[in-house]
């Protein structure tokens, strides 16, 4: 069944560095979404990239999508302490979004 799988499971970087997270999925999609979850909170929608897009930017976020490899990446540039959170990719499966276990990102001040 469709489910996003994020890699790495955990990532620690120094503040100011760039963070890259990867996502793989199984079946063809119309779009792919990325979400952030701060500890103990709900998820926040970050960005949606459609299947006919290869790259999309939103502020310090850059998302790429390679439908031939069924993969996506999320790049956060110039990281800040407030970026510490878990990040999930979510490929849709019909009316539903499926989530993996996420990448736990820690920004070290």
């Amino acid at each position: 069944s469709q489910q996003g799988e994020e890699d790495p499971q955990a990532l620690s970087i120094q503040e100011g560095e760039n963070a890259t997270m990867n996502c793989s999925y199984k079946t063809s999609i119309n779009n792919l979404q990325w979400y952030r979850q701060n500890s103990g909170r709900g998820l926040v929608h970050l960005i949606l990239i459609r299947s006919n897009e290869r790259e999309k930017h939103s502020g310090r976020l850059r998302v790429t999508l390679d439908t031939s490899k069924k993969s996506s990446s999320l790049l956060i540039t110039a990281s800040r302490a407030a970026d510490t959170a878990s990040y999930f990719c979510a490929p849709p499966a019909g009316e539903k979004l499926t989530f993996g276990t996420g990448t736990r990102l820690t920004i070290i001040p």
Partner: protein
Amino acid sequence: SQTIHQWPATLVQPVGSPLSLECTVEGTSNPNLYWYRQAAGRGLQLLFYSVGIGQISSEVPQNLSASRPQDRQFILSSKKLLLSDSGFYLCAWSAYGDGGYTFGSGTRLTVV
């Protein structure tokens, strides 16, 4: 603007007791509604979703049920809680189509 309300924020319930978690959405009509559960350090598991009043789809067999008595109200229930029902429950809504989801702030349920 659209908002989603989920309550309570935390809940401690004994094994065998009933459960009712409520989620309401404001500022939109005919939303798709979802209940997810997240175990500690794990991903989100979709429990139920609804594309309309009275229309509930169950994703996994479990001790829980869901109802949608009104267009913008989604309720998660159990008649008798199990220890394994502990977790972080999240409600979400989306507009029809392939738009992003908006999540509630979640309910931390501990069954003791």
